[in-house]
Assembly symmetry: C2
Homo-oligomer: 397 residues x 2
């Protein structure tokens, strides 16, 4: 596997083009519509939000993924097309139809994604002209425009790519972060391309495993968006059919890209000043490890303590104690920034002043060892700041 | 049932005395040890934190409640006696023994409660002198000292009492709020006395039902303390055995007191500037209603929107959608401050400016109607403010 290239994303694999344009959904000057197109039919896999109030494009794209074949992705930012009733369903389908007509494929081969304000109908006139414009600009090479056109309140573009299988197969991706969207809600999107030859069910299995340990292991505020999706397209342009070691290498490469983008999303979370990793090991099983890690990562008390650089181990143990999973406090060991602070049911005699110093780092590590079994999980989270509250309370005032 | 008297608490029922003193756990001048004593043996019931990292006094008091009979409660603030190892267990028992000796009862008839800093051994010398002092000051009449001695970062004492069964039976209670404790964590305590004659199992059943709809239906930050407990003592001094209508009246009176104290705790939550009620009706069942109400009440996005006075219905529907309970968005109706803002899967044509005006109230009402069944639940929550973050991030810096 090669090193990660963070200057190129979905255009890196062979046989993919992209474009990003401004069409009038967001404020002038901000790109708001992206296309990612494969020259040929591609295997498609996807992971979607579990929110029951999910948006129309999520419902549409789930059908595309179920069929297993796609040619392209059309995504807009600035409007989530969510909680928009029947009109929303028609608009999502129309986006697929507009692009399918130009690609000469069926609408059922076009993934649709939207992110932004909810409860407002899509300005379809703008979307229509945006798809036309973007189609004319489809190009290989730099994919910054597409990466930019899916952003909302993110501070920077997020893209990554690398080669696996001894350079024979390429993987690339772009993502947008979990910022709140003006003025409504957080969404997370990631689009992955690869020129590997891989059947849709295998791609799906691989993507599901990777997403569980990356995009599904991050939290900014514990709220689940209505529009989240991660999509992978594999067009086979490398001519390499993945099997054996090459498949393992592919999955590791995909993990590396998704982990990088997931952590970038946390770092770019609204109001975040630092991030922290919660590593739970020795839990009864991996499900228990995930529940405990997630509860610690989402705890407001832990997030504010991390913000203040306070080695407040009591809040971490208390959060672990309320997770819906078994834990024996007397067997637990807690490390903060590699310092053992809690053991045998009570605090150790650690150097508090030195630890406070080390809690000021940009990334803080929390490691909880339970000695109950083999379960292990990692979660990444951002701190909770006054700026977060300002951004989300006073947007419209 | 009479009106609520908020100037008197546990001393109102016949046959109870209380005291509150400063003994040296907190800063000088702040009361930190309370006693509540029944003249005779009382039926006892209790509801405790479900946190697996619960404190030593919680484990002790659970045994007392299991036996069904108690004479007294000893409670200290300023130190939670939590995550203090074997020493903590011995100290909790010692507190019971010290009071039992003076009362000439068994230690197993004394409830012990602690709230405050975790991970620090109790200063037993101070506690011992505190119990001796407080015992000398046990008195009927005003119970302000006891109500004050259980507070931590609360802004005000919380007590309430009333008469039920046509004046024959009295109920009184004191509580402390869900503020963060210097420098560790939130705890909630409530002690209820009554001179009704009622067997422990009946008292427990009644208390469990009432707590579920009051103290277990509030949230400040979604974190569960290691020390929470609600205890009820019934000494029978009224000579009235509860049955039939009198029992119903008793439960209603108990509910009224607990609802008042629970809402006072939310209002007094750290950094809170306003509170809101989440009322879910028409859910598939009451369990589903509670899950949905709790998820909305705990959502950081909803809490910040309420803080900003923003009628952000999208965040409320999105929170409902991620609750682990069925919901059909197309059948849902959402009212904010009695204004219908969402129906048939999309927003209504409401007057946004007028609604923003009404969102500035001290108490905001959210009502979500699902048309899926008979399930109903209410949850009370406080808004999330920059002050909350300041208090919890920068306590030690």
């Amino acid at each position: 596997m090669t090193d990660l290239n963070t200057q190129l994303g979905v255009n890196y694999p062979r046989g993919f083009k992209s474009a990003g344009v401004y069409c009038g959904i967001k404020k002038p000057g901000l790109l708001d519509l992206a296309l990612i197109v494969s020259e040929t039919e591609a295997s498609v896999a996807g992971v979607f939000t579990t929110n029951r109030a999910c948006a129309a494009p999520v419902r549409w794209s789930k059908q595309v993924v179920a069929a297993g074949v796609a040619r392209a992705i059309v995504a807009n930012s600035g409007n989530a097309n969510c909680l928009t009733g029947e009109q929303g369903e028609r608009d999502a389908q129309r986006m697929a139809e507009l692009l399918a007509k130009r690609l000469d494929c069926t609408p059922q081969q076009v993934i649709v994604a939207s992110t932004g304000v909810i409860g407002v109908p899509l300005p379809m006139h703008a979307v229509e002209s945006g798809i036309a414009q973007a189609f004319e600009r489809l190009a290989e090479g730099d994919d910054r425009a597409a990466a930019e056109a899916i952003l909302t309140t993110d501070n920077s573009v997020k893209r990554a790519s690398l080669e696996v299988a001894a350079g024979a197969v390429r993987i690339g991706a772009i993502a947008k972060g979990a910022g709140m969207i003006a003025p409504r809600m957080a969404t997370m999107l990631a689009f992955i391309t690869t020129d590997a030859q891989i059947a849709a069910p295998d791609l799906q299995a691989c993507l599901t495993r990777v997403v569980e340990r990356t995009f599904n292991s991050i939290t900014v505020d514990g709220d689940t968006s209505t529009n989240d999706m991660v999509i992978a397209l594999a067009n086979g342009a490398s001519g390499v059919a993945l099997q054996g070691d090459a498949l393992t290498d592919f999955e590791q490469g995909l993990y590396r890209i998704c982990e990088y983008l997931a952590k970038r999303i946390v770092k770019d979370g609204e109001g975040a000043s630092r991030i922290f990793e919660v590593h739970v090991q020795g839990a009864a099983d991996s499900d228990a490890a995930r529940r405990i890690a997630r509860t610690i990562a989402e705890s407001q008390l832990v997030k504010t303590a991390i913000h203040g650089g306070d080695p407040n181990w009591g809040r971490i143990i208390a959060a672990a104690g309320r997770a819906d999973a078994p834990i024996d406090v007397n067997r637990a060991e807690l490390h903060l920034q590699q310092t053992l602070v809690f053991q045998q049911g009570r605090p150790t005699d650690y150097d508090e002043r030195a630890l406070i110093e080390r809690m000021q780092a940009d990334e803080v590590q929390i490691r909880l060892t339970l000695h109950d079994g083999d379960g292990e999980a990692r979660f990444w989270s951002s701190d909770l700041t006054a700026e977060y509250v300002q951004i989300n309370a006073h947007y419209r005032t």
